[in-house]
């Protein structure tokens, strides 16, 4: 019988390797001297240097997680935590060195900037190499710049918010991030300003046996709105690379933020990223996440609904193929009355890949009349893959509506039969079901990413599903 095959993601574009050329690469390992050297190289103000050293102390005190995927292969003695590319920050692509520009060209970033983005930041290894934003947003007072510039030019704003939403004590890799962070984006949208066209930052790690630790800090002030897109990729090397970025989002009263991520790291990457949002009165943060790459991911964006009437939605899809262990999910804490959260998660496992949905919904005593609804579905495409669902639902008051549903299984024979009775071939029926499964997520993505995702879930008509 002819069977359907779901291809692995075509990584040709992402696997382009440039020569490992850099202006400065810190020696491997993690010591006080190394942190001081990074701080010196980055020309940190004194407070940031002290902060880094404190974070290193905390890193050394904290234990590795006792749950989730096995990350014992990570040896910080083998990782260079800071690699400065051979260019400084530019605001014209013409000034970016040819090999780096060519990489971003192939990833489609400059084209997307022309057609569908209001601003772009591009990071290569540890530093942002390009940053630009449309003139009209600058006039409206929107700030979109690299984190280093923000530390220098907006010290009060940065000091007030930097690693306050995600404290260095949260877990070991947040502490690591605090010690070695470099690059990333800073966005401030002033009160009442609606940024209708998305801003996008793209993070590219080229250097082998290194890490990327970008810090993204976004403040959407009262009544303002923003759609921010984050993309990331790296070529594959034989040894482990590490990504331990940190995203802090502050969504003030009546503000709206949509944070979309397409994560497509190479399959030697350990992606131990941390993302958190603090959402104030009547504000909303929506997370849209597609996790396709990396060898191991541990990624659980979190919304803290602090203000009355605050809302959050999480829409996520994971696609784990051979050798991948994607442990992803969402955390939400309801702290105020009339808050609401909606979670819609999907995962597809194939060729021995493992997808885990791990989550927390906590509705505290103070969050009366709050609502939360969680739905997660997992699709298994063969009998060598693994799919787990590990949700925690912590309800601490009675005036709430909470529901959680999860399903796991293969493509339903009945559904295939139904579609075939309508004239579709078995292969087309299966293809339609897989696309339909992913559709609720892909429709939330910007159109160019939805197309990319559909390409990623590319169906061929000869081969084998199940």
């Amino acid at each position: 019988m002819s069977k359907t095959k779901i291809n692995d993601i075509n990584r040709n574009i992402y696997d382009i390797k440039n020569k490992d050329e850099y202006d400065f690469k810190i020696k491997k390992g993690l010591t006080k001297d190394i942190i001081e050297e990074i701080s010196k190289q980055k020309n940190d103000p004194e407070w940031m240097k002290e902060f880094r050293l404190k974070a290193l102390e905390v890193y050394n005190q904290l234990e590795l997680p006792t749950w989730g995927p096995d990350i014992s292969e990570l040896n910080m003695e083998e990782i260079a935590t800071y690699v400065r590319p051979k260019t400084s920050l530019n605001n014209s692509w013409d000034d970016v060195p040819e090999d780096i520009k060519s990489t971003f060209d192939k990833l489609g970033i400059p084209d997307a900037e022309k057609t569908s983005l209001a601003g772009v930041g591009a990071q290569y290894d540890s530093e942002v190499v390009y940053h630009s934003m449309k003139e009209e947003l600058i006039k409206q007072g929107v700030i979109y710049t690299d984190m280093e510039t923000a530390v220098r030019e907006y010290p009060d704003l940065v000091k007030k918010h930097f690693m306050k939403c995600v404290p260095i004590y949260d877990h070991k890799f947040v502490a690591l991030h605090g010690a070695v962070w470099s690059g990333g984006s800073f966005v401030y949208v002033p009160k009442g300003v609606k940024v209708d066209i998305p801003l996008q930052s793209y993070f590219r790690l080229n250097s082998p046996e290194s890490g990327q630790f970008e810090h993204t800090l976004i403040i959407v002030d009262e009544g303002a709105s923003l759609h921010f897109i984050e993309g990331c990729s790296a070529p594959k090397y034989n040894k482990v690379n590490l990504h331990a970025g940190c995203v802090e989002l502050y969504v003030k009263e009546n503000a709206y933020l949509r944070y979309s991520t397409i994560e497509n790291w190479s399959k030697n990457m350990l992606n131990l990223n941390t993302k958190k949002a603090i959402v104030e009165k009547n504000a909303q943060v929506d997370w849209v996440t597609g996790s396709f790459g990396s060898k191991i991911s541990m990624l659980y964006p979190m919304s803290i609904l602090n203000g009355e009437g605050a809302k959050t939605e999480y829409t996520g899809i994971s696609f784990a193929g051979e050798g991948q262990n994607l442990d992803t999910g969402f955390k939400v804490v309801h702290n105020s009355p009339n808050t609401s959260s909606v979670v819609n998660s999907k995962s597809i496992s194939k060729n021995g890949g493992k997808c885990t949905y791990r989550s927390l919904v906590r509705i505290n005593e103070t969050a009366t009349h709050s609502k939360s609804s969680v739905s997660c579905e997992s699709l298994m495409l063969d009998d060598i893959s693994i799919s787990d669902t590990i949700p925690v639902n912590d309800i601490r008051t009675d005036e709430v509506e909470f529901s959680h549903e999860a399903k796991i299984g293969k493509i339903s024979d009945k559904t295939i039969f139904y579609l075939m009775s309508r004239g579709l071939s078995e292969e087309d029926a299966k293809a339609m079901i897989v696309r339909g499964f992913a559709y609720p997520i892909s429709k939330e993505l910007p159109v160019e990413y939805a197309v990319e995702m559909n390409n990623l879930i590319n169906l061929e008509l000869e081969g084998a599903i199940g």
Partner: protein
């Protein structure tokens, strides 16, 4: 204060989620275990062979080393039941903990031989005044085509501690049903594990819990499906008053080879006070493609609309509330065919909801 860690989940999640295990004051363990005399066995025993010696207490999961070894080393009641035929009559084992028998450490081993059928009721009760301690293990082996129903009623008082570990091995075409009525204990901690090894092995667990004052329930149910077309159904309905708190940890684990297996898990918690707390971890683990697994979990108070509807029929709010809670429990209570026991349970629910 020294603590003991019990009832670990089969898969850990973040420590900050406060659900991987339970920490209890080690003082709850009695220093001395005396003999236990208050046990009665009634009902049709002609097809069930009963012995008082068991040697093996080993468990795949259980509540943890300390509590498992306590049963292994200090059990003051051991019962080995072998079901050898089909019987429609129940057999009822009752343990009554009182001032003279405050500590019960029991081990019950049940084997349902091929093509047999039986219902076994196990009751744990305390009188009102005693501060009792119960730690027990129930092991069940259901051989090919056996049909076994086990009803466990925990009606210990609010000063007592109740610990129970249950382990089932279910073979081809065997069917094991549990109904667990969990009213009691200051701490009521249950570890339940089923290993569905046989083709078409079937396991249903229906649980009711009803907590009040400062009661704490920790229910850790694990079902591993290995046999083709095996099935597990977990249905847990509970209500919490006052400051009561409940952890529900349910794991359905589809192991490689359990083709066409199904697993369903439904957990619902009614919160009857602002201080009551519900923590749930309904896990689905899957290493086999051709299976169907579902879980659902909900928590909240009694619906205003339903309450209003019943009150519009002339009931007072308190009565309407009681009716709605009982309605949630009815499907499970109806699985009990023994009318006396059913009445006893309904009366107890009535009293506890007052």
């Amino acid at each position: 204060m020294e603590t003991i860690r019990v009832n670990e989940t089969p898969v850990r999640t973040s420590r900050n989620f406060l659900i991987n295990n339970v920490k209890l004051d080690s003082n709850i363990l009695p220093e001395k275990i005396e003999n236990f005399e208050n046990v009665s066995i009634i009902g049709e025993t002609s097809k069930i062979k009963i012995e008082k010696e068991i040697n093996n207490c080993s468990l795949t999961y259980g509540l943890g080393d300390i509590l498992t070894s306590q049963v292994d080393e200090k059990a003051n009641q051991k019962l080995k039941l072998q079901v050898e035929g089909k019987t429609n009559q129940d057999i009822q084992i009752s343990f009554e903990l009182d001032e003279d028998n405050p500590n019960l450490i029991d081990m019950i081993d049940i084997t349902a031989k091929e093509n047999t059928k039986a219902t076994i009721i196990i009751k744990y009760e305390t009188n009102k005044a005693v501060q009792a301690f119960h730690n027990g293990i129930i092991k069940v082996l259901a051989e090919k085509n056996a049909e076994l129903k086990v009803i466990i009623v925990n009606n210990t008082n609010l000063m007592s501690n109740h610990f129970i570990s249950i382990e089932n091995m279910i073979h081809e075409n065997a069917k094991v049903d549990y109904t667990m009525i969990d009213f009691g204990g200051k701490n009521s901690i249950t570890n339940y594990y089923s290993n569905l090894v046989g083709k078409n092995a079937d396991n249903h667990i229906n649980t009711i819990y009803l907590g009040r004052e400062n009661q704490f329930f920790d229910l850790n149910y694990i079902g591993e499906l290995r046999g083709e077309k095996s099935n597990i159904n977990i249905e847990v309905q509970g209500a919490l008053k006052d400051n009561a708190k409940k952890n529900f940890k349910g794991t359905i684990d589809f192991k490689k080879g359990c083709k066409k297996a199904t697993g369903n898990e439904n957990e619902a918690c009614l919160l009857l006070s602002e201080q009551a707390k519900s923590l749930a971890l309904p896990m689905l683990l899957c290493s086999e493609e051709e299976v169907e697994g579902n879980h659902s979990s909900s928590a909240g108070k009694v619906g205003d609309k339903e309450l209003f509807y019943i009150m519009s029929r002339g009931f007072e709010k308190k009565e309407a509330m009681k009716l709605l809670v009982r309605a949630k429990f009815n499907n499970i209570i109806d699985t009990i065919k023994n009318d006396d026991l059913k009445t006893e349970i309904l009366d107890e629910i009535e009293e506890r909801l007052d």
